[in-house]
Protein backbone atom coordinates (compact mmCIF):
# COMPACT_ATOMS: atom_id res chain seq x y z
CA UNK A 1 0.00 0.00 0.00
CA UNK A 2 0.93 3.65 -0.18
CA UNK A 3 3.41 4.96 2.33
CA UNK A 4 3.69 8.35 3.96
CA UNK A 5 3.87 11.10 1.38
CA UNK A 6 5.17 14.64 1.77
CA UNK A 7 5.11 17.71 -0.40
CA UNK A 8 6.94 19.55 -1.69
CA UNK A 9 10.07 17.43 -1.86
CA UNK A 10 12.21 20.56 -2.04
CA UNK A 11 11.46 24.12 -1.02
CA UNK A 12 13.74 27.11 -1.42
CA UNK A 13 12.58 30.31 0.19
CA UNK A 14 13.89 33.68 1.19
CA UNK A 15 14.51 34.66 4.77
CA UNK A 16 11.38 36.14 6.32
CA UNK A 17 8.88 34.29 4.11
CA UNK A 18 6.33 31.80 5.41
CA UNK A 19 6.31 28.19 4.23
CA UNK A 20 3.85 25.32 4.49
CA UNK A 21 4.87 21.68 4.39
CA UNK A 22 2.34 18.92 3.88
CA UNK A 23 2.18 15.34 5.10
CA UNK A 24 -0.22 12.56 4.07
CA UNK A 25 0.04 9.68 6.54
CA UNK A 26 -0.55 6.02 5.83
CA UNK A 27 -4.28 5.37 5.64
CA UNK A 28 -5.62 4.15 8.97
CA UNK A 29 -2.71 5.43 11.01
CA UNK A 30 -3.92 7.38 13.99
CA UNK A 31 -0.66 8.99 15.07
CA UNK A 32 1.35 11.52 13.10
CA UNK A 33 4.75 12.99 13.95
CA UNK A 34 6.96 15.73 12.58
CA UNK A 35 10.73 15.61 12.96
CA UNK A 36 13.53 17.57 11.40
CA UNK A 37 16.99 16.50 10.44
CA UNK A 38 19.90 18.88 10.17
CA UNK A 39 23.65 18.46 10.15
CA UNK A 40 24.22 20.20 13.42
CA UNK A 41 21.29 18.87 15.41
CA UNK A 42 20.65 15.37 14.10
CA UNK A 43 17.07 14.11 14.20
CA UNK A 44 14.80 16.21 16.41
CA UNK A 45 11.18 15.72 17.38
CA UNK A 46 8.87 18.64 16.63
CA UNK A 47 5.22 17.74 17.23
CA UNK A 48 2.95 14.70 17.67
CA UNK A 49 -0.76 14.24 16.90
CA UNK A 50 -2.77 11.30 18.21
CA UNK A 51 -6.43 11.02 17.35
CA UNK A 52 -8.49 13.78 18.88
CA UNK A 53 -6.09 14.42 21.75
CA UNK A 54 -4.31 17.72 22.14
CA UNK A 55 -1.05 17.59 20.19
CA UNK A 56 2.30 17.32 21.94
CA UNK A 57 4.01 20.50 20.80
CA UNK A 58 6.93 20.26 23.18
CA UNK A 59 9.52 19.92 20.41
CA UNK A 60 8.63 23.04 18.44
CA UNK A 61 11.71 25.30 18.56
CA UNK A 62 9.88 28.63 18.54
CA UNK A 63 6.45 30.19 18.17
CA UNK A 64 7.17 30.66 14.47
CA UNK A 65 6.44 26.96 14.08
CA UNK A 66 2.92 25.58 14.12
CA UNK A 67 1.14 22.52 12.81
CA UNK A 68 -2.35 21.29 12.34
CA UNK A 69 -3.96 18.03 11.40
CA UNK A 70 -7.29 18.19 9.67
CA UNK A 71 -9.84 15.40 9.88
CA UNK A 72 -7.37 13.13 11.60
CA UNK A 73 -5.43 12.68 8.39
CA UNK A 74 -3.40 15.25 6.48
CA UNK A 75 -1.10 17.53 8.44
CA UNK A 76 0.48 20.87 7.59
CA UNK A 77 3.58 22.25 9.27
CA UNK A 78 3.86 26.02 8.94
CA UNK A 79 6.99 28.04 9.55
CA UNK A 80 6.49 31.78 9.70
CA UNK A 81 9.18 34.36 9.03
CA UNK A 82 11.71 31.72 8.10
CA UNK A 83 15.30 32.04 9.26
CA UNK A 84 18.43 30.45 7.83
CA UNK A 85 18.69 28.13 10.83
CA UNK A 86 15.34 26.62 9.79
CA UNK A 87 17.09 25.01 6.81
CA UNK A 88 16.77 21.25 7.29
CA UNK A 89 14.96 18.18 6.06
CA UNK A 90 11.52 17.97 7.61
CA UNK A 91 10.31 14.41 8.06
CA UNK A 92 6.81 13.22 8.76
CA UNK A 93 6.03 9.83 10.24
CA UNK A 94 2.85 7.96 11.03
CA UNK A 95 1.99 4.94 13.12
CA UNK A 96 -0.98 2.86 14.12
CA UNK A 97 -1.81 2.98 17.78
CA UNK A 98 -4.71 0.86 19.03
CA UNK A 99 -7.28 2.72 21.08
CA UNK A 100 -8.00 -0.29 23.21
CA UNK A 101 -5.73 -2.18 25.51
CA UNK A 102 -2.21 -2.76 24.40
CA UNK A 103 -0.99 -6.24 23.72
CA UNK A 104 2.47 -6.83 25.08
CA UNK A 105 3.66 -7.63 21.58
CA UNK A 106 1.99 -4.74 19.82
CA UNK A 107 4.25 -2.30 18.09
CA UNK A 108 3.77 1.28 17.08
CA UNK A 109 6.56 1.52 14.56
CA UNK A 110 6.75 4.94 12.99
CA UNK A 111 6.95 4.91 9.20
CA UNK A 112 8.65 7.89 7.67
CA UNK A 113 7.92 9.86 4.55
CA UNK A 114 10.57 10.98 2.04
CA UNK A 115 10.92 14.39 3.68
CA UNK A 116 10.87 17.99 2.51
CA UNK A 117 14.25 19.65 2.10
CA UNK A 118 13.87 23.29 3.13
CA UNK A 119 16.51 25.80 2.19
CA UNK A 120 16.23 29.34 3.52
CA UNK A 121 18.41 31.82 1.65
Amino acid sequence: GAGVSQSPSNKVTEKGKDVELRCDPISGHTALYWYRQSLGQGLEFLIYFQGNSAPDKSGLPSDRFSAERTGGSVSTLTIQRTQQEDSAVYLCASSFEPTGGWEVTSTDTQYFGPGTRLTVL
Binding site: Y33, L43, T107, T109, G113
Partner: protein, 110 residues
Amino acid sequence: ELKVEQNPLFLSMQEGKNYTIYCNYSTTSDRLYWYRQDPGKSLESLFVLLSNGAVKQEGRLMASLDTKARLSTLHITAAVHDLSATYFCAVAPRSSRLTFGEGTQLTVNP
Protein backbone atom coordinates in the same frame (compact mmCIF):
# COMPACT_ATOMS: atom_id res chain seq x y z
CA GLU B 1 15.95 13.98 29.81
CA LEU B 2 16.33 10.88 27.69
CA LYS B 3 19.67 10.65 25.90
CA VAL B 4 20.68 8.12 23.29
CA GLU B 5 24.30 7.55 22.32
CA GLN B 6 25.66 5.43 19.52
CA ASN B 7 29.15 4.26 18.84
CA PRO B 8 31.00 4.26 16.69
CA LEU B 9 29.72 7.25 14.73
CA PHE B 10 31.76 6.28 11.69
CA LEU B 11 32.60 2.75 10.67
CA SER B 12 34.58 1.65 7.65
CA MET B 13 34.82 -2.06 7.18
CA GLN B 14 35.74 -4.59 4.54
CA GLU B 15 33.32 -6.90 2.88
CA GLY B 16 33.05 -10.21 4.66
CA LYS B 17 33.92 -8.85 8.09
CA ASN B 18 31.76 -8.73 11.21
CA TYR B 19 31.13 -5.73 13.41
CA THR B 20 28.80 -4.40 16.09
CA ILE B 21 27.20 -1.00 16.56
CA TYR B 22 26.26 -0.04 20.11
CA CYS B 23 23.36 2.05 21.34
CA ASN B 24 23.16 3.23 24.95
CA TYR B 25 20.24 5.12 26.41
CA SER B 26 19.92 6.97 29.67
CA THR B 27 16.50 6.13 31.11
CA THR B 28 14.11 3.23 31.12
CA SER B 29 12.06 3.02 27.97
CA ASP B 30 9.51 0.67 26.47
CA ARG B 31 10.86 0.25 23.01
CA LEU B 32 14.04 0.38 21.02
CA TYR B 33 14.04 0.88 17.26
CA TRP B 34 16.67 0.58 14.57
CA TYR B 35 16.36 2.51 11.34
CA ARG B 36 18.47 2.66 8.20
CA GLN B 37 18.97 5.78 6.09
CA ASP B 38 20.56 5.82 2.65
CA PRO B 39 22.06 9.10 1.40
CA GLY B 40 19.33 11.54 0.38
CA LYS B 41 16.62 9.12 1.45
CA SER B 42 14.25 8.80 4.36
CA LEU B 43 14.35 6.42 7.30
CA GLU B 44 13.56 2.75 6.79
CA SER B 45 12.43 0.70 9.77
CA LEU B 46 14.65 -2.31 10.44
CA PHE B 47 13.76 -3.65 13.88
CA VAL B 48 11.67 -2.92 16.92
CA LEU B 49 12.71 -4.52 20.20
CA LEU B 50 10.06 -4.70 22.87
CA SER B 51 11.49 -6.49 25.85
CA ASN B 52 14.63 -7.46 27.68
CA GLY B 53 16.56 -10.14 25.86
CA ALA B 54 14.72 -9.55 22.59
CA VAL B 55 16.67 -10.57 19.51
CA LYS B 56 15.63 -9.90 15.92
CA GLN B 57 17.45 -10.96 12.78
CA GLU B 58 17.04 -10.01 9.15
CA GLY B 59 19.61 -11.20 6.68
CA ARG B 60 23.07 -10.10 7.80
CA LEU B 61 21.76 -7.84 10.56
CA MET B 62 20.88 -8.92 14.08
CA ALA B 63 19.64 -6.61 16.82
CA SER B 64 19.41 -7.32 20.53
CA LEU B 65 18.23 -5.49 23.61
CA ASP B 66 19.41 -5.54 27.22
CA THR B 67 17.07 -3.27 29.16
CA LYS B 68 18.96 -3.70 32.42
CA ALA B 69 22.13 -2.37 30.84
CA ARG B 70 20.11 0.09 28.70
CA LEU B 71 22.01 -1.19 25.71
CA SER B 72 21.11 -2.38 22.26
CA THR B 73 23.48 -3.81 19.68
CA LEU B 74 23.23 -4.11 15.93
CA HIS B 75 25.52 -6.87 14.72
CA ILE B 76 26.62 -7.07 11.12
CA THR B 77 27.70 -10.46 9.82
CA ALA B 78 29.83 -10.86 6.70
CA ALA B 79 29.24 -7.31 5.53
CA VAL B 80 28.42 -6.56 1.90
CA HIS B 81 28.56 -3.24 0.07
CA ASP B 82 24.75 -2.96 0.01
CA LEU B 83 24.78 -2.49 3.77
CA SER B 84 26.54 0.87 3.42
CA ALA B 85 24.18 3.43 5.00
CA THR B 86 23.63 5.37 8.20
CA TYR B 87 22.04 3.40 11.03
CA PHE B 88 20.06 5.07 13.77
CA CYS B 89 18.78 3.66 17.00
CA ALA B 90 15.84 5.37 18.66
CA VAL B 91 14.09 4.98 21.96
CA ALA B 92 10.50 5.77 22.85
CA PRO B 93 8.05 5.20 25.62
CA ARG B 94 4.88 3.62 24.31
CA SER B 95 3.01 5.83 21.85
CA SER B 96 5.39 8.67 22.03
CA ARG B 97 8.07 10.51 20.18
CA LEU B 98 11.33 8.93 19.20
CA THR B 99 14.61 10.11 20.64
CA PHE B 100 17.36 9.26 18.19
CA GLY B 101 21.01 8.52 18.56
CA GLU B 102 23.52 10.43 16.47
CA GLY B 103 23.64 7.74 13.80
CA THR B 104 26.45 5.42 12.69
CA GLN B 105 27.69 5.98 9.16
CA LEU B 106 28.72 2.59 7.83
CA THR B 107 30.86 2.18 4.74
CA VAL B 108 31.56 -1.32 3.48
CA ASN B 109 34.56 -1.47 1.15
CA PRO B 110 35.19 -4.18 -1.43
